[in-house]
């Protein structure tokens, strides 16, 4: 009974996150368009896209792994969601976060990526492989500042449990990691830019050279699944950063607000800066952000 109730709340949370993810991406795209003096899409356009894709009946497959790729991908996204505590202080909205801590989430992120890579790989399209190779390469550099930041806050709070980290930040903005450990926050937020795949780190999908990157070969239901995943993933990653650095959320309203702001940060930067090439982005990421991350740790050791 307990379990059924838990699963019920988990599914409910997933539903909320998915919808918020779709709406958020619509809003963001609208904002981008407006800033670019265009009218842009409808706010509900992502919903339309999703339904359209799920309805397409002419689908092709290149093989088993091509088929399984999206499943892996979506599992990855939902998995992160499952291991993430959403609302501070609420046992029911903490999902399955009792099975693992921050490290689990950090590593489970790879699960989806791997599935994507393999699925796209079997598609046999070189663009997919190129996209993946770029994505992975850049990813290694993106992870480094984040790792430094994670270690820094782990030292700071002496825990790896997300719930406990959130708990430690309660009681006002002065307790947020943003304030108590600004360097770690900065390093992590730079890393977040890369994780979101927006400009200047958008070379994975690079529309000019590689039409939409790894998912090149996917359409129909497969593409729908990937889009579903993206909606969930964007929100849940923002939630992760929110939990770690911005005091978490005590209710759904705060969660939605904070996740929007965190996500918007990445879009905002993307609008201002041009795109990096991979061999430019990696050294860049390994210099300043890593330095900041090191400072974040060094300060705590001292």
């Amino acid at each position: 009974m307990e379990l059924v109730k838990k699963i019920g709340f988990v599914l409910l949370g997933l539903f909320i996150i998915l919808n918020w993810g779709l709406i958020m991406s619509g809003i963001i795209r609208k904002i981008i368009a407006r800033l670019g003096m265009r009218r842009g899409i409808k706010v509900f356009q992502p919903y339309i896209n999703l339904i359209k894709n799920y309805s397409i009946r002419s689908q092709i497959s290149h093989g088993v792994m091509f088929y399984l790729g999206p499943v892996f991908r979506l599992s990855g996204g939902i998995g992160i969601f499952l291991f993430m505590p959403l609302i501070h202080g609420s046992e029911l909205w903490s999902n399955f976060s009792f099975t693992g801590d921050l490290i689990l989430i950090a590593y489970f992120a790879f699960f989806g990526m791997l599935g994507m890579a393999l699925g796209a790989g079997e598609g046999g399209h070189p663009y997919s492989a190129i996209g993946i190779s770029r994505g992975l390469a850049q990813f290694t550099a993106i992870e480094l500042p984040l790792t430094l930041a994670i270690i820094s806050i782990a030292i700071q709070y002496n825990t790896l449990s997300i719930s406990e980290i959130v708990a430690a930040q309660q009681g006002g903005i002065q307790n947020w990691t943003l304030v108590t450990n600004p360097f770690a926050t900065v390093a992590a937020m730079i890393s977040f830019l890369g994780a979101m795949g927006h400009s200047p780190f958008s070379v994975v999908m690079a529309p000019q050279e590689i039409p939409i990157g790894p998912p090149t070969e996917y359409h129909g239901t497969f593409l729908g699944i990937l889009q579903t995943n993206r909606a969930i993933l964007h929100v849940i990653e923002a939630v992760l950063y929110m939990n770690l650095f911005f005091g978490g959320a005590t209710n759904w309203g705060i969660l939605i607000l904070k996740s929007f702001l965190v996500y918007f940060w990445s879009v905002f930067v993307g609008m201002v800066f041009p795109r990096f090439r991979v061999d430019q982005s990696i050294p860049w990421l390994l210099k300043l952000p890593v330095l900041i991350g090191i400072i974040a740790i060094a300060l705590l050791i001292i």
Partner: protein, 1042 residues
């Protein structure tokens, strides 16, 4: 008992008698000669046995019906009986070997031969110094005659140089004898010693000339150019006699005459021996001429013997055993090698591939080489061990370094040679001709080596702690080598299962050992299963595979350092042969051996230093070392060569990649854990947690981190699938080193988790990729592609493997990562930790490259018909997958007992990981492998079902049905994106992968070779210069002495 005087009578009488035979009577002469050579063998051996067993006492043979010192007397004691036996056996076998050449020259040559053997016998037995001189001259002249047997320009030159060099030496000897008599009033050695006449300075110098002459006869470096020329120019059969026969006699003469001089001679001898051993072997490394190389080695070995004699007082009661083992190895092996060289008839060692034409010859060759380098179970291993230990007991570490360095150089050139023999080019037209009379002598000597090994073992202090049964089993495998592979495979697996079952009870209370034993034995069995796919006989594979596994198990079973080192060497040897079996692995196997040998000697030195001041050899004494800094560092570096820490890793990629398909998993997934186990032993001995702040550990931590990064980075840029995996192994061993260096409870847990994981996934991956390689016949990933359709099972195996490798939940790789984070933060090594995590993300790059390039992407036309990997490869893979699954779902099954062990042991009392059912938690975080597995599994299944429903009408399309904007390339080769996949990454971080280590070692190698090559020019080939060097040598020794 026949009086030894008859040795002289028979040999000399027959020599004179041969003159009566007509020149055409070579056949009869041959028979007569053999018979008269056989009789002394009987005489001396019967004396040896009788004296040894206590049935007879040493006897003195008087001549002329008078007693010494008035007449010449001979002595037949234990030593004399031993040495004459050796010489006479060599004489008989050498004659059999040389008989064809001798017959060509007629009966006179046989007489010459008889006289030589007679001379050697008397040289050993006589106790009169002038008599010694006369018979040494006989030997000299006879040798000079035998050198001429070959009758070409070179042998003439060499003979002349020999004659003048030995001539001048004997002149000094004679001067010495003159004054010896003048001051001592006697010519009898014992009489002189008893009279103790060495009080006058003149007498001292007289003795100086006598002893220095004997030393010069032993060809000390560098006054030995003439000897090298002789070794090179003479017929190998004659060189065998010189190397094993005359050197034997001379070394005994030295032993006999030493009491004449003062104590200082021992020190001089030590120095001379050390210089010779080191110098000669060093110059040998750039030598390519077979016989000359053997010459260098011969001289080196004699140098070692001189050192042994020089250390007589320090070695004490162990002296006999040490001398025996070093001597007998040299004696048997060197004669055997010269004989083989005569069969092969190749001037350059690079042409020795022809030896593969004969199994028996190759087998003997290997045995001789191993015996020379001092691998177990051959006698010199025991000898060197005992010697080093005795020297360590008195703190003579410089000398140990010299011995080990010399041995290292020797190993270097001998193994290069072995490499050429096993893998060198070989033209098909040439066939190795092996007449029976040429192979019987080396064969007998080869067998004798084993007998000698048995005796050395029983004489050695710790010899009885060695379990010889597996060695016998290995030997048995050699004997049944003619059987088909699958039978031998079954026998081997059976033996390993049997061993495992028997082993378990004895170590079951030590989980740590159980874990490693499981890795070694289960891993061994699994990889052997893959061996069923090999058709034919697979000659020479099984003995060495068993040897390697036995060595690994021996590490676990070892109770003292001797057993440990024994096992270590055995493992090295077995794995070397396994590695060199690969098609292109000559160079790599050589590198492997180079590093292994260097590493082994460092370990040896470390052990020696640890034993200083300790009475036992229990493994724990490492921690009691009086020079902890040195012994820890040396041992650590030694073990690190096996775990291929960055800088010492350059042997690994080639060795692992070029090995046979089922050998790669053995050497990568399993063998490397031997090094890890060594480190564990070391770190435990250091004191576990108490030593956590040891500076060595700090640097090892950094080293581990850098290794992890470097290994992974290098793996990313590989195009060769097996090389990629090999570099990945380097990195993984870096993780393990790093985690071990924490010296905390959780750090060790993480390291052990890593070790188990690495065993599981690397064996799995190598097996899977090995199976693929077996089918597609290439290592290059860009040539493959799309193989998922042909090899789905292999694909699954690789997929599971890389998920584990990358540490992605829910598989067990994550367990290691999670423990790792906790350990890093607990320990406070943040920056090293970050490096390692960075390395971890880099691993994704090559994981993707591996699975994508091989199994996904565009299938190539020529591989459309390849089959799935052999079933024998898949079976162990799936067993391993099951293992991974179990370990992933229930890590507590393994980690709990290990944790308990670590906590309970005195080493890591501070418990940091607590278990609550299946959930592990530290004070930082928590993790429940079981629940994660469950959550992800359910979710994955739900999603899959959902997708299957949603896309139920999906249709499969052909290969090139892909979305392209414009024209598209039609060949899979151009469409498959694999080659240089991470070029952008290379642009960004490629500078980190600069082959610095390779460059460093290449330069080192180059410089060493250049120095060796340059120093070799000391031997100008000018006989007169050699004479000048001899004189200068006398002067230098004189100046050192007085």
């Amino acid at each position: 008992m026949v009086s030894p005087i008859y040795i002289i009578a028979i040999l000399l009488g027959m020599a004179f008698m041969l003159g009566l035979l007509s020149k055409s009577g070579t056949r009869i002469a041959g028979i007569l000669t053999s018979v008269s050579l056989a009789l002394p063998v009987y005489i001396s051996i019967s004396w040896f046995i009788q004296i040894l067993s206590g049935n007879a006492d040493a006897i003195t043979i008087f001549t002329a019906g008078s007693v010494p010192p008035f007449s010449i007397n001979l002595v037949m004691g234990l030593e004399e009986a031993f040495f004459t036996s050796a010489i006479n056996i060599l004489g008989l076998l050498g004659f059999i070997y040389l008989s064809a050449d001798l017959k060509k020259q007629g009966v006179r040559a046989m007489a010459l031969y008889l006289v030589l053997i007679m001379g050697l016998n008397v040289v050993v037995m006589t106790r009169d110094i002038f008599n010694l001189f006369v018979f040494m001259e006989i030997v000299t002249i006879a040798v000079a005659g035998l050198i001429y047997l070959k009758n070409d320009n070179q042998s003439k030159e060499a003979g002349f140089k020999y004659l003048v060099a030995v001539g001048i030496i004997s002149l000094f000897f004679l001067i010495g004898i003159g004054f010896f008599y003048f001051y001592g009033g006697t010519l009898n050695i014992d009489g002189f010693i008893a009279a103790n006449s060495v009080v006058v300075k003149g007498a001292t110098i007289a003795i100086f000339f006598i002893i220095i002459s004997i030393i010069l006869e032993l060809k000390p470096f560098p006054a030995n150019g003439w000897a090298l020329d002789v070794y090179q120019a003479a017929t190998p059969g004659v060189s065998a006699l010189i190397s094993s026969g005359t050197a034997t006699a001379s070394i005994f003469v030295l032993y006999k005459l030493l009491p004449l001089g003062s104590e200082i001679w021992l020190q001089i001898l030590t120095v001379v021996g050390a210089v010779t051993f080191l110098g000669s072997n060093f110059l040998g490394i750039s030598q390519k001429n077979t016989n000359r190389l053997l010459g260098y080695s011969s001289i080196g070995q004699v140098g070692l013997l001189m050192m042994v004699i020089g250390f007589m007082p320090q070695l004490g009661s162990a002296f006999k055993m040490i001398f025996f083992s070093v001597f007998i190895s040299h004696f048997l092996a060197k004669a055997g090698l010269f004989w083989l060289s005569g069969i092969v008839k190749k001037e350059s060692i690079t042409d020795w591939g022809i030896l593969r034409g004969s199994n028996i010859a190759l087998f003997l060759f290997g045995i001789f080489l191993f015996a020379l380098v001092g691998f177990p179970p051959f006698p010199s291993f025991y000898g060197k061990w005992q010697m080093v230990m005795e020297l360590a007991g008195t703190g003579r570490f410089i000398w140990i370094v010299i011995i080990l360095l010399g041995s290292f150089f020797e190993g270097l050139y001998l193994f290069r040679w072995l490499g050429y023999a096993i893998k060198g080019e070989k033209s098909n037209e040439e066939k190795l001709q092996i007449p029976w009379d040429k192979i019987v002598p080396p064969f007998i000597f080869g067998i004798s080596l084993f007998i000698a090994a048995y005796y050395a073992n029983s004489m050695s202090v710790y010899g009885n702690t060695i379990n010889l049964i597996p060695l016998v089993f290995i030997l048995l495998l050699f004997v049944i080598d003619f059987l088909p592979a699958y039978i031998k495979n079954t026998i081997t697996i059976g033996a390993m299962v049997y061993y495992a079952v028997n082993l378990y009870p004895s170590i079951s209370d030590d989980t740590l050992r159980v874990v490693f034993a499981a890795i070694f034995l289960i891993g061994g069995i699994l990889t052997m299963i893959a061996g069923y796919s090999v058709k034919g006989k697979r000659k020479g594979f099984f003995p060495f595979a068993v040897m390697m596994y036995f060595g690994l198990i021996g590490l676990i079973e070892a109770e003292n350092l001797f057993q440990f080192f024994f096992a270590w060497e055995l493992m090295t040897l077995g794995s070397y042969i396994l590695i060199i079996r690969g098609k292109f692995s000559m160079k790599h196997a050589f590198n492997y051996m180079l590093f292994s040998l260097g590493g082994a000697y460092l370990i040896f030195l470390g052990i020696a230093m640890s034993s200083f001041g300790n009475t036992s050899l229990d493994i724990g004494i490492i921690g009691l070392s009086t020079m902890p800094g040195w012994s820890y560092t040396l041992l650590a570096i030694g073990f690190l060569t096996k775990t291929a820490a960055l800088g010492l890793h350059i042997w690994l990629p080639g060795a692992h990649a070029e090995a046979e398909s089922d050998v790669s998993p053995m050497v990568s997934g399993i063998l490397l854990k031997g090094g890890v186990f060594g480190l564990i032993v070391l770190f435990l001995a250091m004191g576990g947690e108490q030593a956590a702040s040891h500076p060595l550990l700090y640097s090892l931590g950094w080293l581990g981190a850098i290794t992890a990064l470097g290994g992974n980075l290098l793996a990313v840029f590989q195009e060769d699938a097996k090389r990629l995996l090999a570099y990945s192994s380097v990195a993984n061993l870096g993780y393990i080193l790093f985690a071990l260096a924490f010296m905390t409870n959780i750090g060790w847990l993480s390291a052990l988790t890593y070790s188990i994981n690495h065993f599981l996934f690397k064996t799995l991956l190598f097996l899977a990729i090995g199976g693929v390689v077996l089918r597609v016949k290439t290592h290059n990933m860009y040539e493959m592609g799309g193989l998922i359709k042909q090899m789905p099972w292999s694909f699954i195996a690789v997929l599971i493997g890389i998920i584990t490798l990358a540490g992605i939940p829910p598989l067990s790789g994550y367990a290691g990562k999670w423990l790792f984070y906790n350990a890093v933060i607990t320990k406070g090594w943040y920056f090293q930790g970050v490096l390692v995590f960075f390395a971890g993300t880099i691993a994704f790059l090559y994981c993707f490259k591996l699975i994508y390039s091989v199994f996904l992407g565009q299938p190539k036309d020529r591989f459309r018909k390849v089959k799935e990997a052999p079933i024998w490869y898949l079976i162990p893979q799936f067993i391993l997958i099951i293992g991974i699954m179990i370990f992933s779902a229930r890590p507590d099954l393994v980690l709990k007992p290990i944790g308990a062990l670590l906590t309970q042991s005195s080493y890591f009392p501070s418990d940091s990981l607590s278990w609550e059912n299946v959930t592990a938690s530290t004070n930082l975080g928590y993790w429940s492998g079981y629940k994660i597995m469950l959550v992800i599994g359910v979710m994955f299944a739900v999603l899959l079902v959902w997708l299957m429903y949603m896309s139920r009408k999906t249709q499969k399309v052909k290969q090139f049905n892909i979305v392209y904007a414009g024209e598209r390339p039609f060949t899979p080769e151009t469409t498959h994106f694999s080659h240089n996949m991470f070029s952008h990454y290379y642009k960004a971080l490629g500078f980190l992968s600069a082959p610095l280590a390779t460059r460093f070692w290449n330069i080192t190698n180059d410089i060493t070779h250049r120095i060796a090559d340059g120093s070799k020019r000391l031997y100008t080939g000018n006989g007169q210069t050699y004479l000048a060097v001899i004189m200068a040598y006398i002067i230098i020794i004189y100046l050192i002495m007085f």
